[in-house]
Symmetry: C2
Amino acid sequence: MVFATHSQAWGSKVRRSAAAARDKPLLRPWRARNNLFFRGGGEGRKGATIRISTMELPVTDLREGSCGGKGSEAPRERRPPVSVAAVLPAGGSGERLGGCTPKQFCALLGRPLVSYTVRAMERISWISDIVVVVSPENVEVMKSIIKKYGHKRTTVAEGGMTRHRSIFNGLKKIAESHLLSSPLQKPEVVIIHDAVRPFVEEDILFKVVMAAKEHGAAGAICPLVSTVIASSADGCLDHSLDRAKYRASEMPQAFLFDIIHQAYHQCSDYDLDYGTECLHLALKYNKTNAKLIEGPPDLWKVTYKRDLYAADSLIKDNISQQVCVLTNMKEDAVQVGFLLHETLKSHVKLVKAISTSLCKNESHLQNILLGQCYNFICINDNLSNFQETHQLVEILENTNASLLYSVVLISVYLDFFENVSFISAMQRFTKFAKEVEKKNILLYGLSIHYQKDNLKLQETMDSAAALIMALIRDRNPAYVGQLLVA
Amino acid sequence: MVFATHSQAWGSKVRRSAAAARDKPLLRPWRARNNLFFRGGGEGRKGATIRISTMELPVTDLREGSCGGKGSEAPRERRPPVSVAAVLPAGGSGERLGGCTPKQFCALLGRPLVSYTVRAMERISWISDIVVVVSPENVEVMKSIIKKYGHKRTTVAEGGMTRHRSIFNGLKKIAESHLLSSPLQKPEVVIIHDAVRPFVEEDILFKVVMAAKEHGAAGAICPLVSTVIASSADGCLDHSLDRAKYRASEMPQAFLFDIIHQAYHQCSDYDLDYGTECLHLALKYNKTNAKLIEGPPDLWKVTYKRDLYAADSLIKDNISQQVCVLTNMKEDAVQVGFLLHETLKSHVKLVKAISTSLCKNESHLQNILLGQCYNFICINDNLSNFQETHQLVEILENTNASLLYSVVLISVYLDFFENVSFISAMQRFTKFAKEVEKKNILLYGLSIHYQKDNLKLQETMDSAAALIMALIRDRNPAYVGQLLVA
């Protein structure tokens, strides 16, 4: 069995040695299970072994972390001592985006934005129910999204004409669940979070829930980026606010359920039609001064087209942090695998190397998938069949690994074009790639010119790593089935 | 001579006919000069001619529009009846970005952000001087940026410890220019604009300048995205502001030079050290209530890493709107060129087709370059030399076309792999591509399987167009010299 794991901070000049990585695994909460060996096959490295440990994953589903997460570190899940549900208003029309699709339904890497936000909530086990409030015409769309992406503990509620009316409907759906023989339970604390803020982390959710338990209401805030000014009736400056004294009110917010539910019951039509701030309702109708919690900058709301671009890039960033290199046991392939593994370490946080013989034991690969790996490099020494690639695709399909994110799979061939039958091999490869694309697996080919000269081989590896990183980072379906040359 | 131009709104289902495009050219200010013909070479289309006109460009440099511009429409330049200079504070440390490079010096498509903002100002002929204020340690960096990208009418000033002190230094540099025998002239109106807001358009600059002339001061504003709240001493909500009554103060701002210069002279150290709002100084020290002007959403400030991602995508969007297809006169190449041209029309705003024989007359290509075209497709029928590609590269180099943006050049070959000497051709191509990359020209190869069957050929064209659009949109140097297959 061949297995290696190695961690390095992106862009950091400090490289941990394999030994240090073993002694202080980055993924602290996981427990070392197996000590395995990577046998380098390169000249001068032949026979050298690097002893590295694999980790056992906690039972919680960590496949994703959050889409805006800090990489592969498993969160230490703290459970608030209260029952918690979440209401996600998703009824906006997306006017400011300038398109006709409301922003919460815009696709990022093929999946609607709202699904990312639902997933960010769903992966937190102490949130018992998630109610997504959408405009009546989008109820079926939302139900199909929940079904397609397998979201659990998630219910759809029909929204009203304004943001406040929609939130109120979500709260009513929870409060009246006993009348509707619904499985929803009235929680002690309810989180309110915009469907268009997909990068919410467990930490800030925990903090607002705990503060809501203590203060009745709580909300995330961020520093103001621009000065806020008031204008006079003639469109001139009346006064500007001291930026240091004010904050932007963001989401998530959390409330004792009864406080916010009663506030909505008591509030005026004017509030329901023109207000936007839930903390304001709790203050006005319940004399509850919400606790304000400094949030991270990733809480920002997807509002304009540029925000969709930013979200797209951040999601791609996040799922590009781990690569798994698979090799068979042939000498050349092992050497290329080893060198690629070493070269990629300066590009991504975590590179795992695994022998294809391990693939026969699906649980190993499953652990890698659970560890949020969406990028695989499969080194083949043989054009006639791409057995390893086929095998890996089958496992990825069986484990439903590409349900939420596309999986990038790069098939590496040594000296592809020197094979006499390369044209038919290329055609078969392209055909196969188009097939697996339907499963959200993006398959690309990469031919590496294998040379005995170590220096030249390293140059080729640098070029290969640059191509691999570009394919992984772009995740562009247009290049599926193409064969690049390093 | 063969030339065609055709316009279509991105994503629009309405296709203008070539005749309509001729009658109502999209680029209104240009004057029709030549009537040329595109000879379709395809089966069934053989001999069909489309009569289309080329346009004469105005003298003003329109190569770029602005990086956030609305495509290729030439702005109708209005000149304010006052002299105008601009001060760009660029002294920030970029703390919020989380990196060590201050954001104004972060590279977008290889060029520092500040250069985009300088260019947005520089292309407006009625701004006579641009003063970029940078921290002392970045003066030489800024000077080298100005030299490298050939920025005109741009001077560097040394900044102070805070934003206000930096702006004041910029104003002093202008006011005291007569003492320093500097070529700067004190203007009637001065624009103040952040170096990290690269997407500023001529329209809003004109508006703030005109309003400053009338009111003494003016500034761009945008609606608030989040509610603004005030907190009490214990970190709880004190009150929230009615979002409808407040605005975010953005840039650009403009002032009668003497008003803002005097305000800075009079203002307190506290203002200079803790203030951020220039409009506030004009109000406090000159009783000038600035006119507030609703600005477009693109005025936003690059603050966080996500903003760099967004800016990168928006710039790429903008320079991907025009493609020029060059063909030689061989029948197969002409047919492929014609079909590609037609297929690409549903992907980009403007596709131009041009015969390579035209390349011999550089002025035609120069017109296309001036029309903000940064993307070229060159159709070759012959592997042994890539004469057309060489020729085009030479012209691009001679005209310095890739100074500000990388130029994408896609060399199309018919049935590349069926040529016996394809391996050596591929090597020569890759080597050539690496050479021209040094000139900021990104050269990619594309092999098209040429088939007589019209339906199959169209399928191939759809696949080719998808690859071409991906290469143009991504502008990824990692794929330079690769040969893709449609």
